[in-house]
Symmetry: C2
């Protein structure tokens, strides 16, 4: 291995140029593949590069070009199979377009999210996909959106940012159907297990159409309430059970519920982690499913067909959620590049009629973020059945 002269660090293009006996410009032209170069110098340069095992410095390149060929992705937890699937799909799509992915977990910690957003911005990602934690995230993201950074919201909408694209599931309707399914089977005392249970007072009277402006857990509660309302049932606060995103916590919450209220005949879980906890709880409680208690989960995972009874669930298109978000982001990135190349004069002129500030053009473009709503669907399996006959 030929040792490098200039102390530390990988070789730079000037060292390659020197080794090859050409200028840095020609070296750059052959190594960067952008200009013209004679076969002779091409050979010399490539040879020298190989000898020094040279790799171009992407930082320098990005600094010049103003793009990093990298997209940022911020989720709460890649460990959750739901996000793992979505992230997997995102990587596939962006990689095909030549992008890399910077990934951050926030663990539902607002401070971590703030930091992640800031770092992504400092590292100059070309675009960002984020599953925001809460409405407060909107403030943090607005600055990026205003700066024109391509941005797509994943799974969780942010009504405060109508100018950014959002890719979500029709959670409210799906939940409504899931609960309607239970109602149709004859259930009257239907409990719900949700991370958003505390928000129920605010959500119970929301119109189904408003539901999908909430984060998924909350939207699903809106659907739950709507289904009960349609069936002429009034929600019982005792049946709205809170649990954090943790299987064991969910198990205990359900065990407590069953002990406290033996009359419950059905349970709707707003998420896959909670559903797995509920299955465990039912098994431990000795209640038969679906004979004593029916169960519906949200988010179909592989294990749902392995357990007995096989779980009735709402299946949501996890991978498609990710790939759609990624595609949307790539389009936005491409658009922005296009903008930069266009003549700023004409563009400004074209929008002066409606515009006010000098940069109205870009804002106008960004104003209508697309809202893509992917559809989940109910898959009735064996964990749901008629309630036990009243004693």
């Amino acid at each position: 291995m030929p040792h490098r002269e200039k102390g530390s660090g990988p070789p730079s293009i000037v060292e390659v140029a020197r080794e090859a006996g050409v200028s840095t410009a020609t070296a750059g032209r052959v190594l960067g593949g952008y200009g013209q170069a004679s076969a002779a110098s091409r050979a010399k340069v490539e040879d020298a590069a190989r000898r020094l095992s040279y790799r171009p410095n992407g930082l320098a390149r990005s600094l010049i070009h103003g793009s990093t060929e990298t997209v940022g992705v911020i989720v709460t937890d890649v460990g959750n199979p739901f996000f793992a699937s979505a992230v997997r799909a995102i990587t596939d799509v962006v990689r095909a377009a030549g992008y890399e992915m910077l990934l951050a977990n926030t663990d539902s910690d607002p401070e971590a999210e703030r930091r992640a957003i800031q770092v992504m911005w400092e590292k100059r990602v070309d675009g960002l996909i984020v599953a925001p934690q809460s409405p407060e995230s909107a403030e943090r993201l607005r600055a990026l959106a205003d700066a024109g950074l391509p941005l797509v919201l994943l799974d969780r909408p942010l009504p405060a940012l109508p100018q950014v694209d959002q890719v979500i599931i029709n959670n409210t309707l799906c939940a409504q159907r899931a609960v309607a399914h239970l109602v149709r089977l004859g259930h009257r005392r239907i409990a719900v297990l949700s991370e958003a249970a505390r928000d129920f007072p605010r959500l119970r009277d929301a119109a189904p159409a408003e539901g999908d402006a909430e984060r998924p857990s909350a939207a699903r509660l809106v659907g739950y309430a709507a289904a009960l309302r349609r069936a002429g049932l009034t929600p019982d606060p005792g049946l709205i059970v809170h649990s954090p995103y943790d299987r064991d916590a969910a198990t205990h919450a359900v065990l407590r519920l069953l002990r406290r209220d033996p009359g419950v005949t059905a349970l709707f879980c707003t998420d896959n982690v909670l559903a797995s906890g509920a299955v465990a709880a039912l098994q431990r409680s000795g209640r038969a499913c679906p004979d004593d208690v029916s169960l519906v989960g949200f988010d179909d995972q592989e294990w749902t067909t392995l357990v007995r009874p096989r779980l009735t669930v709402v299946r949501q298109p996890n991978r498609e959620l990710g790939s759609t978000a990624a595609e949307r982001l790539l389009e936005r990135i491409a658009e922005r590049r296009g903008d930069g190349a266009g003549d700023p004069g004409t563009e400004e002129a074209a929008t002066t009629g409606s515009g006010t500030a000098p940069d109205a053009a870009r804002d106008a473009d960004a104003q209508d973020g697309q809202r893509l709503v992917l559809r989940g669907r109910l898959i009735a399996r064996d964990s749901t059945g008629p309630p036990p006959a009243v004693s």
Copy 2:
């Protein structure tokens, strides 16, 4: 586009300096938090920065400092819960140290892996964690290791790279114990379902001590063979079943096996995906578990205690695997930084005794990559029992 207009793109430090009426140097000092600055100019600069919503450009900074505060992670599939857990743990550890993560999936495609390695290198990650696909990966990685890039192998060892740190599981022994458990229960016709089945001829006579130099699937086959050997049984090629990492494929492979060879009384699966396929197959075949067929899986997932019978598995510390790798990497990065600051003269002198080339010092340091072997353990549950009485 010749030059970017001052308007486009995020504001640079010179615009902030101009707005604040100071030099770029002072602006840099307050915004970068490195020099001294009077309260007066500090206020002016911070104010200007806020007005322009300025964010420092990390690329420029990294270009100067020679570090990006980013680590690369290359795995085959974040969608696989095993890697999802490991990756999750990695992010936690590196984030606590102020690093971000660049993530790439290779999907077991050597070309994708090659590209990923190259891109990580060009983006100048400060270190790299990789789960290599195959022995050929060693060639690709050797260049990075030689260049002194901190590198840690995750889950899959590469004997050809003794100079790099490797964090793995004691797969061979774990598999051996799993199969010994079946032998102890009285099983004689024990099948194995593995992605590495085709390599069995090469692996069958390996010493258990050599097993852990193989990738996990292969190492587990070595353990399988060793356990049989110890029990005085000879492996039957008909019981070594291949399946790719795909649940449905695994299901069909197992169904075929049971049809072809009804005398099988136990099955060992070398991986969680294959195990889930096997559970599905058993359910569909109508064979009772464990009464007709016992089942052991590798890699404990949440669903293993939800299915009935609850699955006997080898549990491996997935998160710890990731966090250990990350910690190791951070140490290596810190070491390298230290090296750079140290006096190269003394260092060379210290190792001249054993060294030969001028740069022997660094190589000598790197020569002994640590090999960290984390331990899995067998958890006997209800899917294993004595074989049915012979008819």
